[in-house]
Symmetry: C2
């Protein structure tokens, strides 16, 4: 079986590559690169907490002044109505991730909640001040006791019909709002999520606008504000704790789009099911997840840019019979650390591009005259978007954690120094895997979504709980292709199947392999969960299958990421660029197969000989792509101003040059 | 095939467990727990660099005053002559790893180099001041341009016979000494590694005592001292940069045990080969590696203690048909994150215990009347110790990096807060994978050692280069059992082999499986390397096999770690404790097999059905060990004073209790 990768000898125009990677919102990327430069936006390190908070506050003012944050808000309130542009703006703030997070809290979560959960009265009063950062705000959802299971938050909002007010209250310590961005120092108003109670009846979690500080910055009466203090990273974000002691707010401060309380205390909602209402409200979190995935991506790209540039000039150890020391990136072990991660970063970049596109397009309201089928399709698309955002967020942030760590180690002691940026990138992104939805929880959401959508084909939808979704039998699983459907169908149809004849580099075979893995894992999962009964037994069955469940979500995401890569290859207008990216795609696929080689062997999808060939192919692809590594990291288009690490700039190359010259004369 | 793990229903005496884990230097552990407590040694966070350096300096004074650092020095100079005790002391400093590193630099590297590379005149002048921290010093080996390949350092030490002095000089920027601990602020003298040149002839790298600061703390004439500034962690260690401009030192400042220069400039050495001389000198680094492995272990144990204690009380999400929220550690996914890592930490603890024992015993000089065979055995043991220290250092520090990261994520947002200690543990230990020998380089050293020792059985030793070691044929590989040899032989002999009949929990089968994997991987590696010719071709062959080489080292270390675990089980005097640890050992083994399941399937060592059974067995073992998780982390004996994280103390349990009481009344 031939395992050698196709030869690669191309001359790629960096601009073609950049333009493909920049994608649909290239104009926003250009705008951000031009507008947000200068010393205020350059990476820094070693600032104290207060100093860093001050700096990020100043950055926020400059960002607001640039008008960029308006992009994500509705045109009727002075916004740009450009969701994709707004996500792209945040993605481009990777020079200091504290700024990205603070901006995400202010414009995405706080502003986004007012926009999505509020109604006209809230929009008119607040949106302009939010966009311009005149009213810094918080998104107070998480409590000390509940971060993932926010349906069980304990903060209460009890309606008092006599005063026409809600009383916001923290009943015990585990119910305090915790880790809240913008709370410790700057926030003046918080969107507080609390259990709405009226006439002794609970209606589930709703969102309320609660003033927490007066204009002078003092905590309002009844509000106790704490500071979360030092964190692993993101020192520029003032995370805090909020406790409410019978704090009264006007009835109108309920963000009442999905549930309202009349003056007399009567509750009403356009959505009958309390659980469904809650998950509709949570839909507002999608954009946050998309932004986190985006920023995890740009931070990873920055880390790879540093590690690859360094590895491309740094030398260590002489080759046998040679006085010349070997460049790090010429070592297979070093290639294996960096290049598959680089290939995966390309794959995720294209998947992200597609995700942002869908988020943007689905933000357009449906034509009111659309028929029921169109409405159902839209709802289904919306749900699919939620799952995809959750899945990509999990995969992209774990990829970031792992890759930035690898980059740090690949730079040795130099990678440990703050001046070389990697410590800050690692520390700042570290929380991405657990905030805006813990990755483990998100992947379970994805698996649930997959099982549900399969059931849609065969029976009615029942939302009583994850285990229930598959309590009845269904026949087989259906793979919904997500990108470039026609092209992918043609490629898969043309492939010789998953057997030995297909070349490892046959895209159709690769696509079919990923589809087949997903289908098999999901079907097996459904079979296991179907055994679940009720109560303790149901939990035991679910729990015993939890690793299977997480794996199902993982391989689903792998498949949609590959499809996005294939779609991007199809869009690439430049032959040499396409050829290069074809090999990058191969490396993404085959290193992914190598990761799961145990699964493929165990399930008879690969023979031992072919599994061995996959390893050889990964090595071979590393060797072929090695000369293009620096070109590929340049393709990410990290703004020059964000790359300050001495080891990634000319300084290291200069050192090496001087040393070699000295050696020649010595 | 039965995959269910044996039932586990034991009542373990925590003291039995602790005493087994504390091991041979239990008395030192007790002493450190008692002596180094109080506010000065409690974990802190959020200190600025200067403040943190001051604090660690004060800790160093208190540590010196305790007399503990004397343990590692020879009795004739007032030391304790107890190498094992000195390593154990450092291991116990995990409350603030900056202290561990600074102490390691002062007493281990700086003091250790004077002791090992110097002769009487140096010992008499310096050792007392070093032990008492009256003379803070540096170990100036690494240069900006050379960290791993220290044989190619560029700093020069040129002998001037007229003045009877050496001239220490930094020829260009890449030759500056970099990342040097104790250099930026406190160090007064540095052991500088430089190319010794006399009469225009180079004799390779030697170590020199170079004063860098006067008593007032000012840099000496010709010495330029820089500060490495902020790092990912270890803020309390003052890493710096040293540049020498023709700095003159007396001839006597050469640490002359392995090479000396007479007044007239004549060079002499008891070791003829320049390369062998250099690697003998590098042997002084062993102790540093052993200490890093030890501290990586104790830091990992601390992180696991925090994450397991939290997971044992924290609840999230209700089970189906239940109002009770589920305790995190009852989730399979959560068990899978923490318990195999916990089992591996136990395994590494026992391997470390054995390593320290060997280091200690081999520090005893051989009886001068020993015959040649005994001398050869000693030399061989010494070399084996070097490889084992290198291998365990790599494996233990990667385990630390991965496990502490997992613990951080397993604690969600709380794990990101400085108050919960995990950020500091992560940041401080992060450099362990690349300092005191980059892990990738160390594993190559291990593989080289393995190939060499096999060759010893069949031919003469040739040290021309890694590739050369196996250039000629040799017949098969020999597994040297490292611990409890007799017991292991009996277990392996009694096992039904690696076929399907053996139970997954059969220790003999497990041992044979690990041996067989190591043997097969090594033999394959030797076959590949044997194809190497010379020059470019040799490099290409070596390079193409680099991943194979690293894997060979990894599985070798896995095997010796397992053998150490088996030896520890044999030492355990308490039946219930043994039974518990038998299951912990199973989990270590089977999760390790699961990690490499692709390899076992690919090489026909497991059938697909048996591979599936391994996964079920890991799940089953997690379930059985779950009730003992807190007991097991307590077994590590982390000093109470080091556990300050609110989530790991009664505070979190209290929160949960209050919430549940409130819920009952609400």
């Amino acid at each position: 079986m031939a395992t050698a990768a196709p030869d690669l000898d191309v001359t790629v125009d960096p601009n073609s590559l950049r333009s493909l990677v920049d994608g649909r919102w290239a104009h926003i990327r250009t705008q951000v690169r031009e507008q947000l430069r200068g010393p205020l936006f350059a990476p820094t390190h070693g600032l104290g907490i207060e100093e860093h908070r001050n700096r990020v506050y100043d950055q926020m003012l400059a960002l607001a002044a640039s008008g960029l944050p308006r992009l994500g808000f509705p045109k009727e309130y002075g916004g740009g109505g450009d969701i994709g542009g707004s996500v792209t703006t945040l993605e481009m703030l990777s020079g200091d991730l504290s700024l990205m997070v603070k901006a995400g809290v202010q414009f995405g979560l706080f502003g986004g909640a007012i926009q999505a959960l509020g109604t006209e009265r809230h929009h008119e009063t607040y949106l302009k001040q939010v966009m311009d950062f005149e009213l810094p705000g918080c998104f107070a959802m998480t409590e000390t006791g509940h971060g993932s299971d926010v349906q069980l938050l304990r903060t209460t909002a009890t309606y008092d019909p006599a005063a026409e007010q809600f009383v916001i209250h923290t009943p015990h310590q585990a119910a305090q709002k915790d880790y809240i961005g913008n709370a410790a120092r700057d926030g003046r108003v918080a969107v507080v999520f609390a259990q709405l109670i009226t006439g002794r009846e609970g209606h589930g979690v709703h969102a309320f606008l609660v003033p927490i500080r007066d204009a002078a910055g003092r905590a309002r009466h009844g509000v106790t504000i704490g500071d979360c203090g030092g964190k692993a990273g993101l020192a520029g974000v003032d995370n805090g704790r909020l406790t409410f002691n019978q704090v009264r707010i006007p009835r109108e401060n309920l963000l009442n789009r999905y549930g309202d309380v009349a003056r007399d205390g009567t509750y009403s909602s356009p959505i009958e099911s309390q659980s469904r209402r809650f998950f509709t409200m949570l839909g507002t979190l999608i954009r946050g997840r998309v932004c986190v995935a985006a920023t995890a991506g740009s931070a990873t790209q920055l880390a790879l840019s540093i590690a690859v540039r360094y590895a491309d000039v740094r030398r260590q150890f002489s080759a046998p019979d040679s006085d010349d020391e070997v460049v790090l990136l010429d070592y297979l072990a070093h290639q294996r650390r960096l290049l598959p991660a680089l290939a995966t970063s390309y794959a995720l970049r294209f998947a992200q591009e597609e995700l942002v596109g869908r988020l943007h397009d689905l933000a357009e309201p449906l034509d009111p005259s659309a028929d029921e089928a169109a409405q159902q399709r839209r709802e289904r698309d919306q749900r699919e978007l939620e799952y995809r955002a959750a899945g990509l967020k999990a995969v992209a942030t774990w990829h970031a954690t792992k890759t930035i760590q690898t980059c740090r180690e690949a730079c040795g002691g130099a990678g440990y120094l703050a001046e070389n940026q990697l410590p800050q990138l690692k520390a700042d992104t570290d929380v991405f895997t657990t905030f805006e939805g813990d990755n483990t929880v998100l992947l379970q959401l994805v698996a649930k979504g997959l099982l549900t959508s399969y059931r849609d084909h065969f029976g009615s939808l029942d939302t009583l709980g994850l285990v229930r979704f598959v309590a009845e039998s269904f026949v087989g699983a259906v793979i919904e292709r997500t990108a470039a459907r026609e092209l992918i169908r043609r490629l898969v149809d043309a492939a010789p199947g998953t057997d030995e004849e297909a070349g490892l580099y046959d895209r159709g075979w690769q696509l079919a392999l990923f589809e087949d893995r997903e289908k098999h894992v999901l079907e097996g999962l459904a079979r296991r969960l179907r055994r679940a009964g009720t109560g303790d037994e149901a939990f035991a069955v679910f729990n015993a299958a939890q690793d299977h469940l997480l794996y199902a979500a993982q391989v689903h995401v792998d498949r949609i990421v590959l499809e996005a890569f294939v779609a991007a290859l199809d869009r690439c207008p430049d032959d040499d660029c396409t050829e290069l990216l074809e090999r990058v795609c191969d490396l993404f696929v085959l290193s992914n197969v190598e990761r799961d080689v145990g699964w493929f062997l165990q399930h008879g999808r690969l023979t031992p000989a072919r599994a061995k060939a996959v390893t050889s192919a990964v090595n071979d692809l590393c060797r072929r792509l090695r000369p293009y590594a620096s070109l590929l990291v340049d393709g990410f288009g990290i703004p020059d101003a964000y790359l300050t690490a001495p080891i990634a700039t000319g300084i290291e190359a200069e050192r090496q040059k001087t040393m070699r010259e000295y050696d020649r004369h010595a």
